[in-house]
Subunit: 304 residues, 4 copies
């Protein structure tokens, strides 16, 4: 149950079975830093290449294929006074006939007022001169090594996690990943200071950060897709295109969750989900889109 501080020196652009940079025991806490999506650190120095350079991998003792790695996000701290976005919306989230209305995708700097916990464009367009947004940090890309010895670009995501860009991966959430290799090999990076649903600008507030994460191994608890838990909710993630398939993956995983953890058969789960399910469009920009299938714990009262 120790807390370790790790300063990264090298970074990866794939989630794969790379040599671990650090080993943690089941229950340990890690404090480390992440670069922004283009590889700039807290000082603004370019120290790695894009896309989404990852800190890690971290070897978690006791994690074996068939287990689940639980990662509690205790804290995500802003450590740099700037972040950036791309201007305008991504071409794939508007009608094809409206693409030509979109502005050029210039890199845009935002100022992060860490003390006030507010963010605003450095050079605001006219209508946004008095506008700012809250710091609502989230982890854009994290996960474990995929199966079959694959090494998958941090631009995309899969059953092992990766670039899901889901704003629900925020402080207070425990993320769950299916372990495919001894030690799980956990990676983390691409923190956003704020982001709406869907990452429809193709970016959040891309910035460097310090994260504090606690790891626990759930032995012999296989899952098929990333999941998450907060004080109020349980959720399952599906990563695929189109959104329809991401939603199918997430919903099927939720059926598995309700069966394994609550003993519900498909009839009972159908009654429950038909009335209570909530979906988030996590990202609708990356090569694989991400959908979260959520169930509020209050809807589970009286079950069993």
């Amino acid at each position: 149950m120790a807390t370790h501080r790790f300063s990264p020196r090298q970074f990866h652009n794939t989630l794969g079975s790379h040599p671990p940079v650090f080993t943690l025991a089941d229950g340990d806490t890690l404090i480390t830093e992440t670069l922004d999506a283009h590889g700039f650190d807290r000082e603004g120095r370019l120290v790695a290449s894009d896309p989404n350079p990852m800190t890690g991998p971290f070897f978690i003792e006791g994690a074996e294929p068939g287990d689940t790695l639980a990662v509690t996000i205790a804290r995500i701290s802003m450590v740099r006074a700037t972040g950036w976005t791309r201007a305008g919306l991504a071409a794939n989230v508007v009608d094809p006939g409206a693409v030509s209305r979109l502005p050029r995708r210039d890199k845009t700097t935002w100022l992060i007022d860490i003390a006030a916990s507010r963010i605003a464009p450095e050079i605001p367009p006219p209508k946004l001169r008095n506008w700012s947004i809250p710091v609502e940090p989230m982890i854009g890309c994290f996960g474990v090594a995929p199966d079959m010895g694959q090494a998958i670009s941090t631009a995309t995501s899969g059953p092992n996690g990766g670039n899901m860009d889901y704003r629900g991966f925020r402080p207070g959430t425990t993320a769950l990943f299916p372990v495919s290799t001894t030690g799980a090999l956990f990676f983390v990076g691409d923190v956003h200071g704020c982001q709406g649903d869907g990452e429809i600008a193709g970016t959040g507030i891309e910035t460097a950060s310090e994260v504090e994460l606690t790891f626990r191994v759930r032995k012999n608890k296989p899952i098929n897709w990333p999941r998450g838990e907060t004080a109020e909710e349980l959720f399952c993630i599906g990563n695929a295109r189109p959104l329809d398939q991401a939603l199918q993956h997430a919903t099927t995983e939720m059926l598995d969750l309700l069966k394994a953890d609550f003993g519900l058969n498909e009839l009972e789960a159908g009654h429950l989900l038909g009335m209570a399910v909530r979906y988030d469009v996590a990202n609708v920009f990356n090569p694989a889109y991400s959908v979260a299938c959520r169930i509020g714990k209050s809807w589970l009262e009286g079950i069993g």
Copy 2:
């Protein structure tokens, strides 16, 4: 600004340019009844055929093509002690390989305790014996006559509204529809006592209801897709398959809204939406899926 009570005798299974059953002035309020999706009324009598028989159409004085019809949902009252669903989830919301796990789609009765505002299955499966859900009423299918003299099945939806099955169309919401014909020709029906996101069981709690709606004509305010407004939010709906295209329609409509109502260009709107947008998967069951693109009013503070 009168309030009218109208008792329907005939019903339609298409939204089209049918002869109006009643005329209301701009600002008037209508109290009327809706049948359930299979055509059963508050007494449980079969008085119309499925799918989703509509009450209406109502002619709204002053509404002309190019205008917008605003319909404030003042009240949706449960008037029958039963509702029904289909058992299990719809085949299209789980992985194709999981379809064979789903139960038979038997019609299932739910008891509505109107006084207590709770709903529970009449014959609950074992794990749900002590489980109930709140009454959270919504309008499944409503809208106006489509353009070009079309008459479109109430099983589906389009720019004119229709079977959107969005739980955001609840008491307190003002829905907006683009007017394509003189008098708008408004239809309403298919109320659900409760429903989760996506209508993933293919049904909500299907029941008869009494609705109270207030109509206002917004002259020369053209819109392309249904919209809505609550105390906290503005939203735009896109109706299409797959979800990706429904989301594109809704997002493009939101760009139009932000330009017309707040003066934001595409750069400013991109900054805002990239950080603040929320999406709801309204329905992922009907021939056209529905997605709501939402913006919280609090995110609009400081703009302009």
Copy 3:
């Protein structure tokens, strides 16, 4: 078995239960004219409004709901020395990031050399100065009245046919439509002088034409989607978005065809189709895309 010549005076922009303009007996042949997609006739006069004004509807004696209407395309004749297209590809058939590369969608005139059966741009861009294409005529939009009293825009398509824009609907093909109303109510229009797969420019060579069609009623032979037959092939059409769903509809309809007409169960049909199926992307432009699922008659030898 008579041949009738009919000169249209009025046109429709929806397929619906409109009053029939002419009645034909089972086995009769019709010779009539079609306008181009914008409503211009063989003389270049604007006589109807877009989209795709239809000649008809024609009442086919003996056709009742549950029957199939077979329409043999005996001839499609070019009758005007010009056709038109939109310049460039449609925005939805290229990567969203490539949309800005596309030229403006100007209306472009093509010259039809009817004697030589060749077509070329009137003002060819430089590289196409010596380039021409063959006349390969097809019917873009035809079908029967939909069910439930619907009236559906000729911009789109459904189980009743409509704007399928499939180049397989050419002379020599017999098209089949499911009858939903007494007399079937057949419509035809939107002939193209030539068109590639998918109608990816959003147009074929849009022109007026004279068509010769023979009608036969297949009693009590219900089908769910349009089908077709040529000397070499049988095919089934699915109309929906995305292409995946259009393909699902077409493939499911082919399973029905193989069961009803050849007695194949799903195991046998799977063996056959897995090895022999061919797909055409009929259109990937209209609100509903169209996919043809085809089986060559030579692959059916030895079956039964």
Copy 4:
């Protein structure tokens, strides 16, 4: 320009930067063997694990990032008297409501009569007792190492090729792959004795084979997606879900081809493709679907 015969001993389930097993010069020809999709060799011995174990990688001298590797398929020989399929169609190619009609996906043996070049089920279902199909061999999975040091499962495909399952990769076709690493690192396997469009049974006739391939490096000719050339056609492949996106990738790549190789701008290419394009649904089963965008050489006459 030598011909080399290579007998594989080890196999890979990912396309990645694995150590090369053999080196060929630009212009050399390779004769080697492939296993079936489950890892069985020509003698029916299990020598590797699924999915789609690959022979290779082969290092092609002179191939560098930015080049294109051209692989001419000179010959694909059947070398085993048996192949296998899965019974029935894949669940994702029929309507969700029809999935329950499909038979169990049992492994089914087919007999390959190499001398007669015919294939038939070993235990045919009743209606197929006198039915057989021709040997029409194709390569299901081949390609080069992907970029960024990725290692990608042979179950799927991407810009580097992989499991495209396109029946157009047959003898006489030259396949083109974008080179991302020195030596290209070419892999090959998963030959099918026959297969329809879309691989809608999830398999072709899965069998071992001997292939004869000739390699040529096209220096400084970058491409973004796999391409192919036959005596009659040029084609470009897009790999993605849904089919819509695969088609967008393939069509955009064809615009690039027409610009680079024929000097056509987007206006000229639009005129040509709108009339002449053909699409094949290569596979609609794998995690990434594959679409081929084809142009017949006869349609290019007169251009330039």
